[in-house]
């Protein structure tokens, strides 16, 4: 069984907050028809700007929230069908790492006790081995076994994230869902945590679902990437291909907007306006901001399907030619060099 986690057609709608002075607004489609799979030992990054639905998708994948439609399969089993011991096993095998580990740590609990708790709940080791396991976990994440006696507030942001990771690891999971795990950290500490996550994946064979808005970080950690926009996946593919040859105009805009840490390139707005669910009533949700040269009335008619545009690369855009597929089978009069594939910068 290669695929560990599989999502199919996930949808989640929230009732709009009416507010005291407003009539109830339109429902918010946080996640619309989202499908993806993650192979064992692999990292899939869900990227997108605020409100794109990436965090809701993570919560659905972990079963922390019920989807309105769609299924999540873990190890081939529909997680909504799990009960009793099987449900508990899923809860153990799929763990979450949060942006702000402080919020998930009890401030009055010593770190050692915080780590011991999940060991006990899931019966990971006999009581007499707990202390040894806690020490091992702390060492594993780069902390000192003596830190078990200290309280969360005594640690720096980076160390607290290490504790959050240790807690997730304590129950020997297969999958870590990490929601913006480094976005609150300074860059020098961020690098420490990213290196730690990479080492853990290598040593323990972990599978990661990595939620992030920072594309430079995503490039660094991801094997595969799914780009989300207003609740939908608009492009997906292997990280290298997606970054080097983005298919969807939004992916291009997103990549183009990242200020590179090399002087002389300048900053140019790669796209106008802001994502707004109110914008496009019909058609492609990105159309109002799209800069694709061939954008036309057809884009405003239907929501594009997520289509295979090259082997292992799909995009939700009717104007993006399936160019690599053509490359493999060059028909008459379709020279390979004329494709629209502008530089993201």
């Amino acid at each position: 069984m290669r695929t560990l986690l599989e999502a199919e057609g996930l949808a989640r709608t929230y009732a709009a907050a009416g507010g005291a002075f407003r009539r109830s607004g339109r429902p918010i489609h946080a996640v619309r028809n989202v499908s993806f799979g993650i192979a064992r030992g692999e990292t899939l990054a869900l990227v997108g700007e605020s409100g794109c639905g990436k965090s809701t998708t993570a919560r659905l994948a972990l079963g922390l929230e019920e989807p309105d439609r769609g299924t999540v399969r873990f190890g081939g089993r529909d997680i909504s069908s799990l009960a009793g011991a099987e449900r508990r096993a899923f809860r153990r095998r799929a763990q979450m790492v949060f942006q702000d580990p402080v919020g998930s740590l009890n401030p009055r609990l010593r770190v050692g006790d915080a780590l011991r708790e999940p060991l006990r709940v899931h019966g990971i080791v006999p009581r007499e081995e707990e202390a040894g396991r806690v020490a091992e976990l702390l060492r594993r994440v780069g902390l000192d076994p003596g830190d078990a006696r200290r309280y969360p507030h005594e640690f720096s942001g980076g160390q607290r994230q290490r504790i959050g990771i240790a807690r997730a690891l304590s129950v020997e999971p297969d999958l870590l869902v990490a929601d913006e795990p480094v976005s609150a950290l300074d860059v020098s500490v961020q690098a420490q945590i990213l290196n730690l996550l990479a080492a853990l994946q290598r040593d323990l064979g972990l599978t990661y679902l990595f939620i992030a808005h920072d594309l430079a970080v995503v490039r660094h950690v991801a094997d595969r990437v799914a780009v989300m926009y207003l609740g939908r996946i608009v492009e997906t593919g292997p990280a290298d291909e997606l970054f080097e040859r983005p298919l969807h105009p939004y992916t291009r805009a997103l990549l183009g907007a990242v200020p590179r840490p090399r002087p002389g390139l300048g900053v140019r707005a790669s796209v106008r306006g802001e994502a707004s669910a109110a914008g496009a009533a019909a058609g492609c949700p990105f159309e109002p901001r799209c800069r694709h040269p061939e954008r036309d009335a057809a884009c405003r008619r239907d929501v594009p399907e997520l289509e295979e545009k090259r082997p292992d690369g799909a995009a939700r855009c009717i104007k993006t030619p399936a160019w690599e597929v053509e490359l493999l089978d060059p028909g008459p009069g379709s020279p390979a060099g004329t494709r629209e594939n502008s530089d993201p910068a």
């Binding site: 700007e49 961020q190 690098a191 660094h220 002389g264 390139l265 994502a275």
Partner: protein, 338 residues
């Protein structure tokens, strides 16, 4: 020789201490910062959290709450030669939002939630430029349009919460520009924004600078933004500037080991690498800066000499770094060979 536009010398802003909170040690948040800002130039003040960059910005206009903060005697902030730290309150009010304007990370905290945004922009125009109500309103619409707010005639009636984060930041910029400042201090102006909106705001700031010729002091933690926006960069660590250089020089050949470590830790979206170079350890606590060179406990190059802290030593071509390696560059080369 004419005085530089802005000259900061030996600025020290400390917090708490014996008379303050907890009777503990004073937090020496800004501890001897000196730099100059020339007309029309962009200086990037960069560093990680707690390095003192934001307190430096606030100190320029004496916006640090006192107590618990205090700017120490001997500190100096001169605007065209005029000492601001000793200026009377009415003069300071004139300078704030007049010659020196500020834009912060979260516009929500600087905007009045119960007033339409247009009124807030107009108020500044009337106060600093002495225009009548009608003229101020016309100028407001022009400014809102200039900062990229569509339908400014309608939008000026909106309340802050009715606008997106990007739009609110545009309003803040309009307010800052209302008095045609010669210096814009921008403290993490895009940190709360999505990356595509951030690019729009940075582009707007660059356009406005070219048009109005103002100098920008850009405070940020983002080394990508600094690389694209700044002419010169000052890197802060533990309350001090540890390196200052023209932007290309800093990125191509950092002199201070902290700068070097910081640059190596930044992931580049175009160049994935197996492993990022992390700086080991953590940023020290402002109440207990390390003795000697403050970066010494984390520095891969540290040696005996670092027990005493160097000043900002002059390197080539207008560069300065607070590191003995400037005087003994051979040491670095020797280490990299082994």
């Amino acid at each position: 020789m004419t005085a530089p536009l802005l000259e900061v010398e030996d600025l020290r802003t400390w917090f708490g201490g014996a008379s303050g909170e907890g009777g503990g040690r004073e937090a020496r948040a800004v501890d001897g910062v000196s730099f100059r800002l020339g007309a029309g130039e962009t200086l990037g003040l960069v560093g990680e959290s707690g390095c003192g960059k934001s307190v430096t910005a606030l100190s320029l206009l004496r916006l640090v709450p006192e107590p618990p903060g205090r700017i120490l005697p001997g500190s100096s902030v001169r605007l065209r030669g005029e000492e601001l730290l000793e200026a009377p309150p009415e003069r300071l009010r004139e300078v704030r939002g007049g010659e020196i304007a500020m834009v912060f990370q979260e516009p929500m905290t600087s905007l009045n939630p119960v007033l339409p945004v247009g009124r807030q922009v107009a108020e500044g125009i009337r106060r600093h430029r002495g225009l009548g109500a009608r003229e101020a309103q016309r100028e407001t619409v022009r400014l809102l349009d200039r900062v990229g707010i569509t339908e400014p005639e309608e939008r000026r009636r909106a309340y802050p919460h009715q606008l997106s984060g990007g739009m609110r930041q545009r309003v803040m910029i309009a307010m800052a520009l209302a008095c045609r400042p010669s210096i814009l201090v921008a403290d993490e102006p895009t940190t709360a924004l999505d990356v595509t909106v951030q690019a729009q705001i940075l582009e707007l700031l660059a356009d406005l600078q070219a048009e109005l010729g103002m100098a920008i002091l850009l405070i940020t933690h983002d080394l990508g933004i600094v690389a694209q926006v700044a002419d010169r960069v000052a890197v802060m660590y533990a309350g001090r500037i540890v390196e200052e250089a023209p932007v290309e020089a800093l990125y191509s050949r950092p002199l201070h080991p902290y700068t070097e470590g910081l640059l190596a830790a930044v992931p580049d979206p175009d160049r994935p690498s197996e492993r990022l170079a992390a700086i080991e350890g953590r940023v020290p606590d402002p109440a207990h800066w390390p003795e000697g060179c403050r970066f010494r406990p984390r520095c891969p190059h540290a040696w005996e000499r670092c027990v005493s802290e160097p000043g900002l030593l002059a390197g080539e071509a207008g560069r300065r770094a607070r590191c003995w390696l400037v005087e003994e560059p051979v040491r670095r080369e020797r280490e990299s060979e082994t």
